[in-house]
């Protein structure tokens, strides 16, 4: 393609939420310069506001902030905040993006985020980070973990900007960062591709007047409630009512607010509300065991991986009450400000119930800027129109879209799409890989081995943040006296750019071979100082930080003397450790630039093509004689897309692509090696073996279909599976037209004790086939017997169409099953109708179609130990992290996609395959894998080979050398947690940079704080 001749090796990512962050990190990792654009003053998006994430109840900020810090410290990612995209021009490979950048009025490079200005700012504003539930000041750092961590001024309300008064911030800022001269400006950046990850717009709950949002004090949105639950929120996680600060006892969640609701123009399902409501109910109970949460819903859509278990546990074990019924209105009681919820129960009778607090589970709406800024075609709801089989492809070549902007979705699906988008961008630009990357060049490292430690101690005042609360000169004087310290001085801001040059000079002039900086937290600033030390020719691991701000001055503001002494001892601890630090080498290992994909279904073929398009040869191993996998049984999708044609095209392309070597009829027998250097043995039908060497593996082993034993399947030819029915529909079987009635039964083999998960696709499949039948013969009656209809996202449209087309949906309870029998030659289905209070409905029918569930591929059991990756209880592969690493494993270099991971639709499999390909590409595109210096090492002399550390490593990094009978650490796999080292009674296993002797010295130094 023309654009591949010399494309621009840069990508613009629009939107700094989890999707944009993921895409940016992935792209930088793949060798491209990234411009990360956010219209707000910080990256982080909605995920940064969440307290916990379902279905693991994991702390949202804990998992997001490390990624935000990564974005901030990656020199190849340029974060541009307060920016909007005005226009995008050009072709893939060569695009120009015009941006409008609003003034921040604070110089990001000078601001240290100390907060002095906020303290002096007279203008109170509702805090956007807390969804307006608390106040902050006009000038403030958006939130503690913000990136960039600089203050921002709200021009609308700033006294100086509105009427030239105040200016306190200018006076108080010792860094001179406040800059009212900043003006709005336009900028054009040149990139090869654009990735749109603008996220979504929360539904404006006030539009549903019957719920009284904004009128009744104790009606809040789910986003507001998320902040109330947040330990870092306005109430520190105390579940109290806005009206009177009283603890909440009876809590109600109203589902589908602004979703599945044509009256507000949102016919689609927002896909995430059922689960986040369940999560919020659980967390509320955690914080306040006495609380009684009730969730009012239509269908409980727990369709994702492990969602069903989460939901059933919430109901059965944690006492969350679920009531099927939509709230028709909410009244507020005058005195108590309690709320009366009116709803129709399952029998259709109107009920009214009183609650202290009502949470409206608001839906996700399309974000702005898709059509205007990016010039993308949007669907009826304003979401970006996307390719039916690869939803990250937008209507516009060169512009990829991911996350909720394409269709409402949760975090993992967003991360999958973001990773996929990064990979597809790379496929278009790989000719320009690494061309625009900045690499830091460093002088050769001085050899300090054998030298006496010469420690330099820099004590930072951080403006008044440290200097204002403790006696910095006294800390400096104290540091001077410490053994090994040959230099100690203070700085106003140790992190400022000029300070870095000064430190470099100090290190050289004083021949320092160890550096201690006493300032703020190493979590954000260690990379900067290490970088500086390295630029002075000293190994960056000869650095130690003392956190005398977050852990001292800021938390002991009333006790200057004690805080000063504490700071002195924190410095002493750092110095004592620094004296024993040793230079660490970052490991390197080779990479075989070739991939292996296990499984030749839709996911596997797409993964293989992804790697090939990025320029890497790949083996595609398929057990069966032909490619295609399960998708061969599917003929059309719910959007009317021709799956057959797609599949044939895909197979043809795979066979055409010379970088893909297809090995059908081959089985994987053994896998050895590790990331970068795998050796896989495959065997064909005749027992001929081949050894494949590759740098990464993608697991796309697919899934299976539940084989029904119930409902007379196999006994009566009139009982079929949906696939069998679908074939007859696709073949336009004339006999279908004569059918009087067809009954479809949902959840066959799903959501049962043996398979306690939702198969995700069956509801849509049934609705799809029901509609198709209706088209073939409108007179045929179609009944769908279901428990919950889980047509999430835009699938809801098809569900509605089906109802409008006269398909009858009949619900039965979880604890009952329909009964299929033959009565005098005719098929009869009996089912207790839950909406008729369980009254049994008897349906004579010509055909019964069973919506059978998806099962895990039995081969996974053999593959898992070979690749050292785990499976869940149902036999699907278990990813490294449910939220942020949905295609990775703890074992590096192995990735998963498609049904091998969990039940999912074709387009979801394709997206996940592209993501897996991108992750694998990020391994293959490196000539060497560089590993951190902080890793475990085993001293073979001291090791007696007990093997405990081998079992303790979750990353398979420690192996047992049978020859020498000792443990060996593979530093390319070790993540440096040190769990193994703590178990070694012989002290043979040590964590570099955190050795026991170093920590013992820290402890002694700490203790001396009281002995001295």
């Amino acid at each position: 393609m023309a654009e591949k001749m010399n494309p621009v090796g840069a990508v613009m990512v629009m939107g700094g939420g989890v999707g944009g962050i993921q895409a940016s990190l992935e792209l930088a990792n793949l060798g491209y310069k990234v411009y990360l654009i956010d219209s707000s003053p910080s990256v982080g998006g909605v995920m940064g506001m969440l307290d916990k994430t379902f279905p693991t109840n994991e702390c949202s900020m804990c998992i997001l902030s490390p990624k935000m810090v990564e974005v901030a410290s990656n020199i190849n990612i340029e974060v541009i905040t307060l920016a909007d995209v005005l226009s995008v021009e050009g072709e893939p490979g060569d695009m120009r993006v015009r941006l409008r950048i609003r003034p921040r009025y604070v110089d990001v490079d000078k601001c240290t985020g100390c907060g002095d200005c906020t303290a002096k700012c007279p203008v109170k504003i509702p805090d956007p980070y807390n969804a307006g539930l608390s106040t902050t000041r006009c000038i403030r750092v958006p939130f503690p973990q913000a990136v960039p961590g600089a203050a921002v001024i709200d021009p609308e309300v700033c006294r100086w900007l509105t009427r030239e008064k105040c200016g306190n911030c200018v006076k108080v800022c010792q860094a001179g960062a406040v800059d009212f001269e900043q003006k709005e400006r336009e900028e054009t950046i040149s990139v090869g591709m654009v990735i749109a990850a603008p996220g979504y717009k929360p539904f404006d709950a006030a539009r549903k007047t019957e719920y009284g949002y904004g009128v009744h004090a104790n009606v809040v949105t789910s986003l507001e409630f998320e902040r109330i639950l947040g330990a870092n929120g306005p109430t520190q996680g105390h579940v109290v009512r806005p009206s009177d600060g009283e603890e909440v006892r009876k809590l109600a969640f109203v589902q589908c607010v602004g979703s599945r609701d044509t009256t507000v123009g949102n016919g689609y399902c927002s896909s995430v509300c059922c689960m986040y409501a369940t999560k919020q109910a659980l967390i509320a109970k955690e914080h306040l065991p006495g609380i009684e949460p009730t969730i009012f819903f239509i269908d409980m859509r727990a369709y994702g991986k492990d969602f069903e278990k989460y939901y059933t546990a919430a109901e059965s074990r944690h006492g969350v009450r679920y009531v099927r019924g939509l709230i028709s209105g909410i009244r507020e009681k005058q005195r108590t400000k309690n709320l009366l919820l009116r709803y129709a129960d399952e029998q259709g009778c109107t009920q009214e119930e009183e609650f202290d607090l009502v949470v409206l589970s608001i839906g996700l709406e399309a974000p702005c800027g898709l059509a205007e800024g990016l010039g993308l075609a949007v669907n009826g709801y304003g979401f970006a129109q996307a390719d039916p089989f690869l939803p990250v492809l937008s209507s516009r070549p060169g512009v990829l879209v991911c996350g909720a902007a394409q269709e409402p979705k949760d975090i993992p699906d967003t991360v999958v799409q973001a990773t996929a988008a990064a990979g597809i961008a790379s496929q278009a630009l790989h000719g320009a890989r690494d061309t625009l990357l900045t690499r830091r060049e460093h002088p050769p490292q001085k050899d300090v081995s054998g030298e006496e430690p010469r420690v330099g101690a820099i004590i930072c005042r951080c403006g008044s943040n440290i200097g204002g609360f403790l006696d910095v000169p006294a800390v400096v004087e104290y540091a001077k006296e410490l053994p090994g310290v040959v230099f100690a001085e203070e700085r106003l801001y140790a992190c400022s750019q000029d300070a870095q040059d000064w430190i470099r000079q100090v290190v050289e002039e004083n021949g320092l071979n160890r550096l201690v900086v006493a300032s703020c937290t190493p979590r954000t600033h260690q990379p900067l100082f290490r970088e500086t030390l390295q630029s002075a020719g000293v190994n960056k691991y000869l650095f130690e930080m003392a956190n005398i701000r977050e852990h001292c001055s800021w938390v002991h503001m009333q006790e200057p003397e004690k805080a000063t002494r504490k700071a002195q001892y924190l410095v002493k601890m750092a110095v004592e450790k620094a004296r024993r630090l040793e230079p660490l080498a970052e490991g390197e290992s080779d990479v075989i630039p070739r991939g292996l994909v296990i499984g030749g279904g839709v996911a596997g073929m797409n993964a293989a093509l992804g790697l090939a398009r990025a320029g890497f040869p790949v083996w595609l191993v398929e057990k069966e004689g032909e490619l295609g996998g399960l998708a061969r049984n599917i003929h059309f999708d719910y959007k009317g897309g021709d799956v057959r044609a797609y599949l044939e095209g895909l197979v043809a392309e795979v066979e055409r692509e010379e970088l893909v070597t297809v090995l059908t009829g081959h089985e994987v027998v053994d896998v050895g090696g590790f990331v970068g250097q795998f050796k896989t043995l495959v065997r064909d039908g005749e027992g001929r073996e081949a050894l494949l060497e590759h740098g990464a593996v993608i697991l796309a082993s697919g899934g299976g279909q539940y084989q029904p034993v119930e409902y007379m399947y196999g006994e009566d030819a009139r009982v079929l599976t949906q696939w069998e029915l679908e074939r007859r529909i696709a073949e336009r079987d004339p006999s279908l037209a004569d059918l009087e009635r067809v009954v479809m039964i949902q959840c066959v083999g799903s959501r049962e004790e043996a398979r306690p998960y939702c198969s995700k696709v069956c509801c849509t499949e049934a609705v799809k086939n029901a509609l198709a039948l209706k088209e073939l013969s409108p007179r045929t009656e179609v009944f769908v017997l279901y428990r919950d209809i889980r047509t999430y996202g835009f699938r809801e449209d098809v569900y509605r169409e089906a109802r409008e087309a006269g398909v009858t949906f009949l619900r039965f309870d979880d604890d009952v099953r329909p009964d299929v029998r033959e009565v005098a030659g005719t098929l009869q289905v009996r089912v207790p109708d839950a909406n008729l209070g369980g009254e049994t409905v008897v349906l004579g029918t010509d055909l019964v179609a069973l919506s059978v569930g998806v099962t895990a591929n039995p081969d996974n059991a053999a593959l898992a130990p070979m690749l050292k990756v785990p499976r869940n209880a149902e036999g699907f592969f278990l990813e490294a992290h449910m939220k942020l690493r949905p295609v990775d494993f703890a074992t590096d270099g192995v990735f998963v996609c498609g049904l091998a991971h969990a039940p999912k639709s074709i387009e979801e499999s394709v997206a996940q395959a592209a993501a897996a390909a991108a992750r694998a590409e990020s391994v293959l595109c490196k000539d060497k894998i560089v590993t951190e210096g902080v890793v475990a090492v085993v001293d073979a002399e001291k090791c007696s080979g007990c093997g405990i550390c081998v079992q303790l490593c979750p990353f398979e990094a420690v192996t047992f050398d049978e020859e020498r009978k000792v443990a060996v650490v593979n530093t390319s796999l070790c993540k440096g947690c040190g769990t193994c080292t703590a178990a070694c009674t012989a002290g043979a296993s040590r964590l570099q940079g955190f050795r026991s002797d170093q920590i013992f010295e820290q402890i002694e130094a700490a203790a001396s704080a009281w002995h001295d």
Partner: protein
Amino acid sequence: MSDLKSIVREKLRDGADAFLCLKNEEGTVLPALITDADSPDLELVEVGDSRYPLGKILIDLLREYPDKRFAVLVRGCDERALVELSKLEQVDLERLVLVGVACSAEEAAACGCLRPYPSDIALGEKVEAAPGREVIDEVESLSDAERMAWWREQFSRCIKCYGCRNICPMCFCKDCALEEPHLVEPGVIPPDFPSFHIIRALDMTGRCIDCGLCEEACPAGIPLRSLYRKMQDIMEDKLEYRAGESAEERSPLSFLGSEQDIEKLEE
């Protein structure tokens, strides 16, 4: 003991290259390695009433003679030691033939271990004995302060001979935390209270098979065995594991385990 003698012969005949047991040499009972059916030592073999760390001896023998198979006379404790040592890759049970001897009623009563007999008994009668808990019960009846004073007094007698470690069949580390200067100050006797003894107790947790050799070897008569016994009780109570009982099950302190284990622990 004629039948022990015939057992030794038989094992040597049936493929063991050597038999490790005890012999009585002019009134001194000591370990002996019989490599030959005509060895004069064969006349001296006996079960003996003294106990030696045969497991520890076997660690070295198996390493020294990698192609040999050994038969060994084991009491309950010796067997537990070998089972635990095999999980820790120190002995290879495949190369061992265990000949079990049950402790006599008197021995069992004096020892007070939970299983004074091996799984297969070739010699002696299996007897159960009341577990020795006197010291533990006594200590537990005391208040925190009294307990510390009690142990302080006990440990103050320690002459740091390292006998408890040296004789322990479960101690095989090449480097020992008890010789790490940061933890145990060199040249200080008695060692700092309580680090020396708590460190050893922790290293024994999930490992000590309650043979009591440590206490027998202690010149200061410190009730070490009760300390280590208590550690195993804690281990069983918290993590449902007792060293030496099963050949498959491993100490929960040696693998990551599942979230359920932790939930149980936190209850």
